[in-house]
């Protein structure tokens, strides 16, 4: 009976998963603040509190941008490997994962054994990321959820030619002030399309596969998924906890390592 912990310390949020033989025992998430170690401990404690376990005797694997910054996890794995393993556990048929996070977008190809095959990512700028969408929602004075609902009622799509978040902002403002003004749902749909076209370009770089699963915080936005599916021409799978797939993958790797060393 092996129980393991996976923790994914992202740029905005930290996610933890506790895995037992029969599945996920505990799952938690919280913001990553200035004190990475303390915030990670907080998330971990909240996941552990669901299980009656404590940290001392459990193997841990950490992943994400902050993985090196925590003292309690000697083992680290790349997010891409963890994503591949996590998604394979949930959906063995999936061959491609699109992970849309706050500050980066990553596309990962998974082989039938859950191993990472190829990947491409974009993390140098805010275009097409969660931060971009957050900024746009703020500009349009609505929440991410409101913007998503609005986009689903769009009759057509505003053309957003700029990929840069700063320039796109001015473009959105000019749509609002146009005579007659572009309808808000069309602007929202245009913003989502600009993100999706970027994501698809990234997928094409390594070759689009079926099936596709989406993960990361941005995948919680229905408007994005709708736009993505209509561009791809087929449906994508979204796990119950799309933000915690990498953490799950880390826990699976911790488990594999523990079982290997037992033999």
């Amino acid at each position: 009976m092996t129980k393991t912990i996976g923790i994914d310390i992202g740029s905005l949020n930290t996610k933890a998963v506790i895995l037992g033989d029969d599945g996920i025992l505990g799952i938690a998430a919280g913001p990553t603040g200035d004190n990475v170690e303390a915030d990670a401990r907080k998330v971990l404690d909240s996941a552990l509190s669901q299980t009656h376990l404590n940290l001392d005797n459990l193997p841990v694997v950490a992943t994400g941008t902050g993985a090196k910054l925590v003292s309690f996890s000697p083992a680290q794995k790349s997010v891409n490997t963890c994503l591949a393993r996590g998604i394979h556990y949930l959906y063995p048929s999936v061959r491609m994962v699109i992970d849309m996070g706050a500050e980066s977008t990553t596309v990962v190809k998974v082989n039938p054994r859950g191993k990472l095959e190829d990947w491409a990512n974009h993390d140098k700028c805010a275009s097409g990321t969660g931060l971009f969408l957050q900024q746009m929602a703020k500009l349009m004075k609505m929440s991410l959820e409101e913007m998503s609902e609005l986009s689903l009622t769009a009759k057509s799509r505003a053309d957003i030619t700029n990929t840069c978040a700063v320039f796109a902002e001015s473009e959105v403002i000019s749509h609002v002030h146009r005579v007659p003004p572009t309808p808000m749902p069309d602007i929202a749909a245009g913003i989502y399309y600009s993100v999706v076209s970027r994501v698809i370009a990234l997928c094409k770089r390594i070759g689009i596969e079926r099936e596709i699963a989406v993960t990361g915080g941005v995948s919680l936005i229905d408007g994005i998924i709708h736009s993505l599916e209509s561009e791809l021409g087929f449906e994508v799978l979204r796990p119950e906890f799309p933000q915690s797939v990498a953490a799950l993958g880390a826990a699976i790797i911790a488990k594999e390592n523990a079982e290997k060393s037992q033999k």
């Binding site: 200035d34 500050e103 491409a120 990512n121 974009h122 993390d123 140098k124 700028c125 805010a126 275009s127 931060l131 971009f132 900024q135 053309d159 030619t161 700029n162 990929t163 840069c164 978040a165 700063v166 320039f167 002030h177 076209s197 970027r198 698809i200 370009a201 990234l202 094409k204 770089r205």
Partner: protein, 355 residues
Amino acid sequence: MIFAGIDIGSRAAKAVIMNDSQIIGSTIQDTGPESIKTAYATIKAAMKEPGLTLDDIDYIVATGYGRVLVPFAADNVSEISCHARGINWYYPSVRTILDMGGQDCKAINCNEEGHVTNFVMNDKCAGGTGRFLEMIADVLEIPLEEIGELALKSSSEIPFNTICAVFAKSEAIVHLRHGVPKSDILAGLNEAISVRCHNLLKKVSIEKDFTITGGIAKNTGMVDKITKKIGLEPLLAEDPQLIGALGAAIYAREKYHGKETGSDMRIQYGYNDATGDYFITIDTGKCNGCGECVCVCPSDIYEINPDENGKNVSLVKGSARKKLSILCPGAGNCNGKGKGNCQTICPENAISLSW
């Protein structure tokens, strides 16, 4: 004879008035939301000092983003050509120009006559533009005019991992919260931007006689970083922000005297981002405007339009320039519509792709 050049930029509008030999009036104003109003206000401000009216000016050339919306201009010329012509008036020896504007950054090569021979532009990303510096000045709560001087006071600069304006802004906020001096933050950002400018300049050729134009050339901290990065002291004009308008005024004089202003250049459209280099280079000297590239392109990114000299040449559409990596699969992977791609179909070998 009186000539005027007006440069309606994305953030600032500039005008220069000349007689046959010298500048007699100039102005710099903010670009308002209505281009036509901005154009009138700008030319009026420039005419105030020499005491002129529009009727006194023999020929006016407009340039910049808003150049087609200047009702009183007799002609318009691209800002790239104007910067080359303008700096040539001050420093005929200059061969490399870095133009740092409100919403874009350009690297230009020109010859001894002030004709553009090669240029590359980055207008896809706000990193390193005036807009970027405005955002940072705003976060740091320092007037834009003072950030250059302040950056020079830095004792230990903060390295920035990013050039993205949005990321840099949030990084700067975190540093501020940790009590990092504002001068160190600015110096770090200037360093990141100078690396980017250097990379852009490397796409054209960097010659010894080099200049910086545009509003950012007035930012002493930035100029200092770029000077160190490139290892060349720039020959700065009296007011680098006016160079585009000055070039337009010189074009006005040449056009009035009926002088043909022709030159062939290589134009590089595109950008580089985290995933690679995406540049389409069109040699307008070789291009005969046949339109084969327009026909074969599956993504419809080319168009044939007259250049400055009225010659029909192939151009990359404005709407496609910022999305090349999304629209175009690259020459190696593209077979056009079955007959070959733009690079292979071109009878004059005028087109090349970097990926």
